[in-house]
Chain length 504, copies 2
């Protein structure tokens, strides 16, 4: 590399590193707000976050960074970059263009709007009054449409939003995979509803000591290979994971005294996200590549650990006795009955309470509505009726009010259109990865059954975690499976599991 | 005010507000590091702190800020400023000049040096090897002398350092007050040592459940009027308080299973600091005036609550039964015996383990040594011998090694020369304020004896807390007492208290 080239590269990397440090600071501030910051400090705290975000935005959109990018993209210079630096230039270019295309004034208005809109949503959700929220939602849709115009539409306008969370994902691809899911899962859910072999879940509804729940959650995290020297478990109202750096990955859960599984599955879920972040290659630290490659791949890891492993028969054949020891006399059932109970399927109205099977139907409804908004011009006023119709079609039930209908999720109030599909993509990726793991890791289920979870974590580190954003979602799944994303794996997994449980 | 004047003022205040936001972010990052951040994230975290500190330093030393200051200092503009804005300009000028006089390269070298020096001190303290640490200490002294040269010496060179922590304090004043203290406290300590009436402390040395200790600490904080909506209590190796803003003041303590009083007095001490920070006037938020006016006044509040109140007879006549309830069968003594036990005087070698009386002697030793270093050119090599001689003079005991001698405190390794006097100043201010409070708050000790601590907090809010840095330390103490700082109040307080306890 020429001397100018290597000066540019160093300068570029220093800038990226500085941005990543601002990101860590911001993530600590957010984590702190959500895990117990005193409420009376909230106003000054949001000013602090606003100031640091603005300074970070300035760094990320500076002409200087633009100039460095352009210089490094010159074929002569780009050709001499190593693999990581090339990806870093490409990834930064994508972020840079996205940011500089939005006029600062427009973005500032949007930030204020989403903040007001989230508050309006909170009120509307509490009261059930959709009409009060509707004008905000219309505005958010209006701004999002302006962003799509500025960024440029993909094959469809909605594709531009999908790409924000799942690079390379399109409605064309999603229509195929979701179509495949719908075709099989709707009848499967119907057959389950008619089965006479319903799991008995009554024994789960008792009172469970919080400290004992916490101790078991910590134990299972340790079994999964969560590194407590590089992470911690706290409590928050809504569980979340945040990777400040691979050396500091924080997750939270929420302990419910009357539900022994809620905090545990929350912990395993966030623990899956955490294993991903803790095991990214150290050389990616301080770069924008040091994070999950997409929301779908990230979600595949939370769902692999929570559902594929954590709700499996071998897992509980191994761990049930240890759970029982922590709650003497409370869970006096055998592993089979326990396994069936934690896998009960109950079509319901609320996404976050849904079981592993019907969850995907909740997502498809949101996906179809988001497509209608951005590709067909559907307005906020139309959403409650569309929402209710779709619940009737997919799940055979209709919300009695908007609180348990169109108002249930925070996402749209914050402008996160295009995000929902990630959840089902995660389920699909996880099922597809599992088939490969079963082949490549002989006796995988025997390992789970004997509590040897490290080989699973190591396999996933080798195939997924270490790369961060160094590989695209398609490269990851094709590298593992030899095939692109295919919903047939998830269908096969769910059919096998639930036909067995419900004896269909 | 002219239009230019008000534009300048607004611009100036925006800059100060921005700096204060960076301060809050940095304080959250430090708090987080000390309350449980995963150790493997420490390296990236220190880079984050380094980046934000450097950006804050740039803001604080910008030519733009210098220009705004100069404009606002023009008599015509300054004359039209309100009280708060004038103080803000004066305070900012002081900080600004201090920062810009240090060449950035020198400061950068110093930051690296202190970081290395603190590590070297840790090693030396563990091994007792002073020789390994001595070169670092010499360098730190050398840099500090350069700073004194750049800032300009006061009446003595050491005065420049004192002013960093206690604005307006001088060796001339300190010689007087410390002289007064020494004259009375050395013989008092000697008389106590010869007294036959030693308190029995054996009952304090049992095993005390940590959760029960925590619950009592939280209870006492609440009694003091600590606002849990604007603060929190956590654990850390070394207890500390940090005021992010009056709406978010965090303190920590450390629970020792074999010492029931350690965590409690630590909590009350830090709680005193916290009451100060929580009750600063809201209009000072976002300015550099939003903090304690000096380390001495800050320390007066921790010591007032910990010692004057928390180690008083009325306090334990009220609260002992509640402490006993939390540890059934453990503290089966009457309030008088308990009061005597927690006020035992034992001349020792370690400052942080010292009682309320001999503590001041430990401080005087450090004060005299610091004066010798900066006013008489004493070198690091001479310090162990000087240290040991002074302990013989003041306390009648000599360290057996440097670990319990000159190596015991972290302060010098971090360059914090001039800080130690704050601790005794705090004791003196607290005693002087107490005399005023006893006069102005009729039945003050009856209030304490009946657990009504709010009037005390409110009195202090009116006289001290609300002002932040709006008043100087002298203005604060003279406003309360009508007189400047005088060691006679502390002497009288200690003589009365200990002659009673030891029946001298």
């Amino acid at each position: 590399m020429t001397e100018t080239g290597s000066v540019n590269l160093q300068h570029f990397k220093d800038t990226i590193r500085k941005i990543s440090r601002y990101d860590e600071a911001l993530n600590v501030l957010y984590w702190d707000l959500r895990t117990g910051a005193p409420r009376k400090g909230a106003d000054t705290r949001s000013e602090v976050i606003g100031t640091l975000s603005a300074d970070k935005f300035k760094l990320s959109t500076s002409e200087e960074l633009g100039g460095l990018l352009a210089a490094l993209e010159e074929p002569e210079q780009f050709g001499r970059l190593g693999e990581i630096d090339r990806r870093l230039v490409q990834e930064t270019r994508k972020d840079y263009d996205r940011s500089v295309k939005i006029p600062p004034k427009l973005y500032q208005e949007y930030v204020v709007l989403t903040s007001q809109s989230e508050s309006a949503w909170e009120e509307a959700k509490a009261s059930g009054d959709y009409d009060g929220f509707q004008p905000y939602l219309d505005k958010i849709i209006h701004y999002t449409n302006q962003f799509i115009d500025l960024w440029g539409a993909g094959d469809t306008r909605y594709d531009t939003l999908l790409d924000l969370y799942e690079p390379g994902m399109t409605t064309a691809k999603l229509d195929v995979v979701f179509g495949g899911l719908r075709e099989k899962l709707v009848p499967l859910a119907a057959a389950i509803a008619e089965s006479a072999h319903r799991p008995d879940t009554g024994f789960l509804r008792q009172t469970y000591d919080k400290q004992a729940q916490k101790s078991f959650s910590l134990y299972i995290l340790e079994q999964m290979g969560f590194d407590f020297g590089a992470g911690r478990l706290d409590e928050s109202v809504h569980p979340f994971a945040t990777g400040l750096s691979p050396g500091d990955v924080r997750i939270t859960t929420r302990y419910l005294e009357n539900d022994v599984m809620s905090a545990l599955f929350g912990t395993i879920h966030e623990g899956g996200h955490a294993l991903y972040e803790q095991n990214i290659r150290p050389e990616l630290i301080g770069t924008t590549l040091c994070g999950g490659t997409s929301m779908g791949i990230h979600e595949s890891q939370s769902r692999f650990w929570e559902n594929v492993i954590g709700r499996s028969r071998p897992f509980w054949e191994r761990y049930l006795s240890e759970l029982q020891q922590r709650f003497p006399g409370r869970l006096d059932v055998d592993a089979e009955r326990f396994y069936r109970a934690i896998n009960v399927v109950e079509p319901g109205l609320i996404r976050i309470e849904a079981d592993e099977l019907t969850y995907n139907l909740h997502i498809m409804i949101r996906y179809e509505i988001e497509k209608m908004i951005f590709n067909d011009g559907v307005k906020a006023a139309d959403l409650p009726a569309i929402w209710n119709d779709k619940y009737r079609d997919y799940l055979g039930i209709v919300p009695a009010n908007n609180r348990e209908g169109v108002l249930q999720d925070v996402h749209w109030s914050g402008g996160a259109f295009g995000y929902f599909p990630s959840y089902s993509l995660g389920n699909m990726y996880a099922a597809q990865m599992t088939v490969a793991m079963e082949k490549e890791l002989p006796g995988m289920w025997e390992l789970v059954g004997s509590g040897e979870l490290q080989p699973l974590k190591e396999w996933l580190t080798g195939k997924v975690y270490q790369y961060g954003k160094l590989r695209t979602p398609s490269e990851i799944i094709e590298g593992i499976s030899g095939k692109p994303l295919d919903s047939a794996y998830l269908v096969a997994y769910l059919e096998k599991k639930y036909k067995d449980i419900y004896r269909i």
